[in-house]
Point group: C2
Chain length 799, copies 2
Amino acid sequence: MANVAKKVSWSGRDRDEEDEPPAAGEATPVLADLTPDLCLPQETEATNQFPSEIPHNEKLLSLKYESLDYDNCENQLFLEEERRINHTAFRTVEIKRWVICAMIGILTGLVACFIDIVVEKLAGLKFRVVKDNIDKFTEKGGLSFSLLLWAILNSSVVMIGSVIVAFIEPVAAGSGIPQIKCYLNGVKIPHVVRLKTLMIKVCGVILSVVGGLAVGKEGPMIHSGAVIAAGISQGRSTSLKRDFKIFEYFRRDTEKRDFVSAGAAAGVSAAFGAPVGGVLFSLEEGASFWNQFLTWRIFFASMISTFTLNSILSFYHGNPWDLSSPGLINFGRFDSEKLGYTFQEIPIFIVMGVVGKLSLYIHRPCLQVIEAMLVAAVTAAVGFVMIYCSSDCQPLQGDSVAYPLQLFCADGEYNSMATAFFNTPEKSVVSLFHNPPGSYNPMTLGMFTLMYFFLACWTYGLTVSAGVFIPSLLIGAAWGRLFGISLAYLTSGAIWADPGKYALMGAAAQLGGIVRMTLSLTVIMMEATGNVTYGFPIMLALMTAKIVGDYFVEGLYDMHIQLQSVPFLHWEAPVTSHSLTAREVMSAPVTCLRRTEKVGTVVDILSDTSSNHNGFPVVESSPDPTQVAGLRGLILRSQLIVLLKHKVFVERANLTLVQRRLKLKDFRDAYPRFPPIQSIHVSQDERECMMDLTEFMNPSPYTVPQVWLGLQAVPGTGPAWLAALGQRNTLVSSPGFIWGSWLWQSPITTDTHAEVSCAGRSSVSLPPSLQVVGLVTRKDLARYRLGKEGLEELSLAQT
Amino acid sequence: MANVAKKVSWSGRDRDEEDEPPAAGEATPVLADLTPDLCLPQETEATNQFPSEIPHNEKLLSLKYESLDYDNCENQLFLEEERRINHTAFRTVEIKRWVICAMIGILTGLVACFIDIVVEKLAGLKFRVVKDNIDKFTEKGGLSFSLLLWAILNSSVVMIGSVIVAFIEPVAAGSGIPQIKCYLNGVKIPHVVRLKTLMIKVCGVILSVVGGLAVGKEGPMIHSGAVIAAGISQGRSTSLKRDFKIFEYFRRDTEKRDFVSAGAAAGVSAAFGAPVGGVLFSLEEGASFWNQFLTWRIFFASMISTFTLNSILSFYHGNPWDLSSPGLINFGRFDSEKLGYTFQEIPIFIVMGVVGKLSLYIHRPCLQVIEAMLVAAVTAAVGFVMIYCSSDCQPLQGDSVAYPLQLFCADGEYNSMATAFFNTPEKSVVSLFHNPPGSYNPMTLGMFTLMYFFLACWTYGLTVSAGVFIPSLLIGAAWGRLFGISLAYLTSGAIWADPGKYALMGAAAQLGGIVRMTLSLTVIMMEATGNVTYGFPIMLALMTAKIVGDYFVEGLYDMHIQLQSVPFLHWEAPVTSHSLTAREVMSAPVTCLRRTEKVGTVVDILSDTSSNHNGFPVVESSPDPTQVAGLRGLILRSQLIVLLKHKVFVERANLTLVQRRLKLKDFRDAYPRFPPIQSIHVSQDERECMMDLTEFMNPSPYTVPQVWLGLQAVPGTGPAWLAALGQRNTLVSSPGFIWGSWLWQSPITTDTHAEVSCAGRSSVSLPPSLQVVGLVTRKDLARYRLGKEGLEELSLAQT
């Protein structure tokens, strides 16, 4: 047994199994040898107490999501390449990074422009048709025809949008923000950064908005920016089978993720005209290390993005170079001189924050095109009925209303409710912010808030590409304005309440209550209003909304992520996870490979669908059987696949190299879609050959001792863990085990499973070697959550 | 020898000494035993080649600066306390953090208000006196009396300002930004965050500005905010000998530094009305980990700060709650509709960036009150002569000019040059930005730029509290405006050049060229102009200024830091430091203590002025003399001092505890001014007692193998190193050594010196132990700089 790979199936995570002796040959005896060590008694105790302490519950964690590999595999190939690169070449790589960021910014800006212009054209067309029809039938009677026309128009547009999403690329549904959050957190969501997804997303969001659903086009921009970034940075499109042979250096998860951060930031920037907010969004969602140069590049991409959008829209709107519309939605300038808030109002803004968070969205997983069409029709019907029943007539002033509906109002007046429903949501938000006091009847606002809230909730679960930012803002702005009006009424004007101000705070509170972003959202709102002064009350409203909201339920995106059982690592560890040790959270036992391994063994291990491991510790097989095999490195499934594909085998007989030498390029060419093991044919003769893994394995995987506690012993945490790794004891002086791989700028482990333990047996002439006893991966950490009754442990599920 | 502490004096860092056998008993034989290990041959080779490879030069690194201790010492006391703290107590600590941040914001805002109001009052008084005098003598002749009055007024005010700085607290000189950069980087600059420093700084900056020097009051706000934060977070003032018995939990470097970050951000926020810019400043200077909650608190402090300033100033200016002046300097609103820049102008903005960087400041270390007075007088004289010779008369329009000097102009006109010199610099900047085209004569601007540049350079070296932001902005604005005017002239108006726009770009480029901040400065400028649209050209100008500037010379602050020989760790490692290993950079040999050590030995080691170590590895002394003493922990000088002070000794005879048990509180009470060893009396009897260090030592200091390479082997780098530590192999499977201590959110090692090496000798029943072979501290890394001819190694100096 000592000379063959220890292969043990890793069957589920049932704690009770741990007391059984592991099937692996040496690991347990070594542990037994080591018991005199001061660490072990405590551990064993802790392990025994474990099952009774932490209650299991029905929540699941899916095993289908792989992690991104954010640990640069610094194997011999990589180090050789790095050594060859001189100062100039480093600079070239750096310049390429900037060029890519500029391209990301430009393309994201262009996509935003495209969406904006197409939506405006199509929506304008639709509104004109409906308006003419209504105008016609208002006089003649028979407005039900208008309703029918409106409903059919909306439904058919939404149908197309829903069909392409449901049948071509389901991952393009929704805003894409939860998916991008996951990606930045390090979870690989299939198809999320593909070109096809981008296409469907862009078309889908246009059709949803034109179809009159209660959705926005801003959220999807973040996803779009991320896809653009992932595509450009690789210098090729796998979907289109085009390889431009550029940017090959960036073909790995670490680099790609940095660019995706920039893309997401560029998306935020284009959506809200908020480049700094975009940078902070990326940092808030993805950063664990502060990388100054990366941040600066992200900011560059964001700036370019808003600049591109601004320039093109200025041409489109006929005011070349009037750079006053930096985002898809512009809140208009809040002039602080005219509209200062007063100190007494701050408590009120805080109360608004409390209200903001109370509204919950319910996520509906049922996905049907019919449902989407139904919602579109209902939206039209609700709008129509509301408009029909409303008697809120307002005088027409200038061209402030794009499509004024007269209906039963007097000449020179328009139906105020119709404006709210008949505008694009962006325009409605702006008019709620800026229209002079009295533009909206309180009754109108109340009804509108209620109805729109109901529609937005229903819409959220649909299989269409659409964002939730704008509906949230709109609902918030409506009740905020209503609040302001009521306040002025109640205090008989004692508080000079400009309702627009309250609309802004309401919008901020509502959005904050729903998405639960804090720093980045404050900055986004500040930038969108172009006013630093409002930052303070916005911040207060957002913080209140978050604090109150967190008390009741998680944010929308987090709920979404949790419902999909994604192994997401939160920023903070559950506070009560103090006493967990690495030994308790690790997966064990797992499969090891020898430094020189038989091809057949490797193929068998990779083909084993029951374990489906992605990483394998490489151990030294000592000629002396009394010696314990020590850890030498870690090799990934993807690397083994490439080795098998290129048949980098050594004949058993003469140990000479049969095939050409592999280069890093071969790995990069295969990235990111490595073929499955089934597609690689290995003949019976080849199975008898050997593979030398030394050159390709990562010789320095992260290892920790078994009794290792994280920063105050906190598994399940994201970057705080990582930080802990940087400063804590990582002496592996007691039995230790591999820590998956952490990486630059993210709280990630790869999904690698292995076993390492530390053998004290080595002779004096050799450095003491480590032996694998277990492995901690992202899923092992993500299992721990803080529930109502303390620490909860999620179950793992294959789906 | 095996049972007593190995004490070896650590005499300088001369590489040649390394070839001599170290005086320590076991270390070398162990190394010899280990030579069969594959790592050692390479190392030995590298060490031998070393002296010839890296050229020494005359540059020095001072040993007088200690590092802050950013590694939480997780000893038994600490862990016990952490385990006692439950969920509620954690929340209380968290709430306290927020309260402290709010207080930091409020106090920083108040200090900013105080400075602003006092400066305005005093400067107004001075200007009125001088103006009346000039008006009187303009008619009568004999303007030299006016000059004399002006010069004397200025000189006497500056004299007071200079005297208090030079004789009471020299560290209050200058803007304090380099000092705060160092503090955030982890270097302990003596007196930098004391109450006295704050007092002198505030008075000094008021007097400098009133004295008419070419300085600003913005930079010092950053320092002031930092001092306020350091003071409040400790809940006591050591200077005033008041202990409020609150916030005791925060009495350690880690926590204090987080609050100082918030204070610096609040300072930026108050100075420029740029809360987001403040956050980014703190991150850019101090962050290595991204800590979401800390960032959010910093933002909170910044917001409170600008809000406080804004509110109070609005009352002071008689427009209660008109929150339109968020900072000490407000650039005024750049209205993008009116003042859009055009695409063709962008290359021009870039050229301005090139010009911006070319201006270098020369730091003059000579510090004299006389010089300060002279500069004040010369400033007055230059201003006077310039005004006298100028014939640029402009019509009076409204109240745009605070103190219009008519001089020889016609009635209803004022002297334009006088405005530039006679305003506070802040007002001059704003008028350069916003005054309509034609307000300034090109000749006036040219002369003003030249003269002011000369004055600002001279002023920078003076021993007064003053900032360099405003003079830089002013110079930049002046030549920017001149540039704009010239451009309009040259192109005969083909480019519609609003000179204010060019003034803004010039100011950004000039400031960027001098201070070399990028991300934060862009955001500060964006927030100060209240205009997102200008962000893009500002960013381009700043980047160009930085790139071109870096080609010639370091930024002003970096120059300052380097001249003071501060062991500052830059963000990026020298690119050519690839092949350095830990063994090459470490200090060796150093002093170890045993887990149970004789009091006399400890006192002797601490009193040894020739070594003056701050940290000591604690080793296990095995009863078996063939066993090598293994590393057990690290103890700091400050901890030993507290132990000695409280006489926590064990009688040698009966090994019972003589004194009460120490608590964490005892260490916190002594922080941060631990008494020197000389002040602690230890009797001859007590010298024979033993001390048990087990409870107090940090049991998990960071260790790395001797052959360890950083992230691509880069010592001398700041956070990049740290990041590397988080992800790289830290198996100490070959002879290793202690890595000082890194910490949460910063690139720091404490100044601890020790020796660890890994012994492979331990028996099977014991985990392999580590033996100290050397220690890497901040200074060992900061020694490596990238010079003109590759990697340079600085010498260490005691001064």
